[in-house]
Symmetry: C2
Subunit: 342 residues, 2 copies
């Protein structure tokens, strides 16, 4: 509080009213949010759970907040970033194993990457799984980490032509920082790959590897020729961190019920339910992508276009209203979406 007080005194002393105004707006922890029920819900939750002696006070060690990533912290359309990673790794895979060049689904991906967008329609979910196993497993943890880092440095989102890590939502960055400033530990709980997200989450969101809960496969301990131990990524799933897998993953990796949870799709439903089921003040928020101009519009809730990527159904919308979850309208609640916008 001291720096603010000092600034206020300086502004009073010099009589510069404009300066005092700057001080006031610098105190708003959520400047990219428009005033409204969503912003209000966040501010009230933090106040209630951090007011010492208050009826809803939460002790600091219990302050856990969980965030879905795709569609909640960053853009997930037209396709999840990690699926883009898997597709774009296929040429290198085919170079290493030329026998795959004429084998489905790898040949379909090569057509797709050569500009045949209709090829995307041919890819089924089992195809994507096959591509994921081929590009995410069978190498050492270190090799995978290096490949992800390199891809992230080079890859660009097709619409904004910017690195994917710049396509994160400024209002959610503010929420992460605001919660942490109030003693909350912020976790990512994502359907995406835990090892994938760990490669950039610390730099991008300020969330360290140990606070990433995600879809995870087994690793296998072994030794190289010199006897040095290393871990190999295996094609066997330990945790599918979607739907019921989210609360199950939260218990496995964190072991506490969150006080706040943020999501945007049917994959987040059980995490939001689980969070709200705890006693005291609990915050459950769900992002509705209703801004086709600045980002994307999809539901099918609220009559928005249907999608297979980040589906927000009408039933989910009804459950949100019934259970006291707060729907965040991207269009109405977010003053600014990306940090790079002016």
């Amino acid at each position: 509080m001291k720096p603010d007080l000092k600034l206020t005194l300086v502004s009073l002393a010099t009589g510069v009213l404009g300066f005092a105004t700057t001080v006031v707006s610098a105190q708003d922890p959520l400047p990219s949010w428009n005033d409204g029920p969503a912003k209000q819900a966040i501010l009230e939750f933090v106040k209630a759970t951090t007011t010492q002696g208050g009826p809803q006070f939460v002790s600091p060690e219990e302050r856990i907040a969980t965030f879905d990533q795709d569609g909640t912290l960053w853009v997930e359309h037209p396709m999840y970033t990690q699926v883009m990673y898997c597709l774009e790794k296929v040429p290198a895979l085919v170079k290493a194993k030329p026998e795959l060049a004429n084998v489905a689904p790898f040949n379909t991906v090569l057509e797709l990457l050569h500009g045949d967008r209709a090829a995307m329609e041919k890819l089924t979910l089992p195809d994507i799984e096959k591509i994921a196993i081929a590009t995410l497993t069978g190498m050492s943890v270190e090799t995978f980490q290096a490949e992800v880092k390199q891809w992230l440095a080079e890859a660009k989102h097709p619409r904004w032509k910017k690195p994917y890590t710049e396509l994160t939502y400024l209002p959610m960055h503010e929420v992460l920082k605001y919660l942490r400033a109030n003693g909350y530990k912020t976790y990512i709980v994502t359907g995406g790959g835990q090892d994938f997200v760990r490669e950039y989450a610390e730099e991008t969101y300020g969330i360290p590897p140990e606070d990433i809960v995600g879809t995870a496969g087994e690793t296998k301990y072994g030794y190289d020729k010199s006897g040095k131990p290393f871990l190999t990524k295996e094609p066997k799933l330990i945790l599918n961190d979607n739907y019921a897998g989210k609360p199950e993953g939260i218990h496995l990796m964190i072991g506490r019920q969150p006080y706040a949870a943020f999501g945007n799709s049917t994959g987040d439903r059980q995490m939001l339910e689980y969070t709200k089921a705890g006693g005291g003040a609990r915050l459950a928020m769900i992002v509705l992508h209703d801004d086709a101009t600045r980002e994307y519009a999809y539901g099918p809730a609220e009559g928005l276009p249907d999608t297979k990527v980040g589906t927000f159904t009408r039933a989910l919308y009804d459950e949100a209203k019934k259970n006291g979850w707060t729907v965040i309208s991207m269009k109405k609640d977010w003053k600014q979406i990306f940090a790079f916008e002016k």
Copy 2:
């Protein structure tokens, strides 16, 4: 540094030499350790990895230290505490399911608890697994947590007649605190059950639930009659956090290679190897139980009696010497073992 300086000035001003001596010993972060190579290794490791600008400096976010629990942080003889929990839960289990009273291995456990110590010999590893599944799974997470808390409050160790949570090693408490004071995150990485250890680790060791890596089973998300969600503990293993499972578990739950690791048996071998395999200064320490008078003596390393509970083989001892792990001799290195001793 300020309080120490103040005390030093006071002692100089008053000329009380004895007081100054107290100040010096209060500065020793490891007062329960005798001077020797083990204590020295800890002090040198912390100095090397926290000296800014030094060649082995480790940035604070990378400072991860992992501790085995049974035999490393607390007593594991004559039997692992969690196995005692499982055995002592059998009467309540049989009361709820009377048909088990005459079925092996439950009848054997009842004989054992009624004082027939020879019955212990009849219990095989598959028996113990059967008892573990019956007493650790099939109930909600909340029910299990309440049962563990109640047992811990009542159960006593057969030798010291004290609660198990008092049978923790004072020298290791000092290491935990010393590492944390130097920016290290301290994790338990245990072959014991993750959910079991989580129930007391925060109070006992200052290690919160989210920093416990242990043997873990699946949970299953569901709803009670009122529609409230809860998790049920399932009899399906996700992680066997022993041997190679320790580095695999560290990768799954933490995602960083530790800079320091502490163990005491063959189950810790791969964790210690994995830790030492990283670059820069890495600390690997292994406790040798060679003090039959104050605690227990078992190996079979160094000609100590053989055991199935916390085996420290001759091969492990050789690997420790070869790879630069530091062996902690309980007898020589620990001035005091338990906090309750004078």
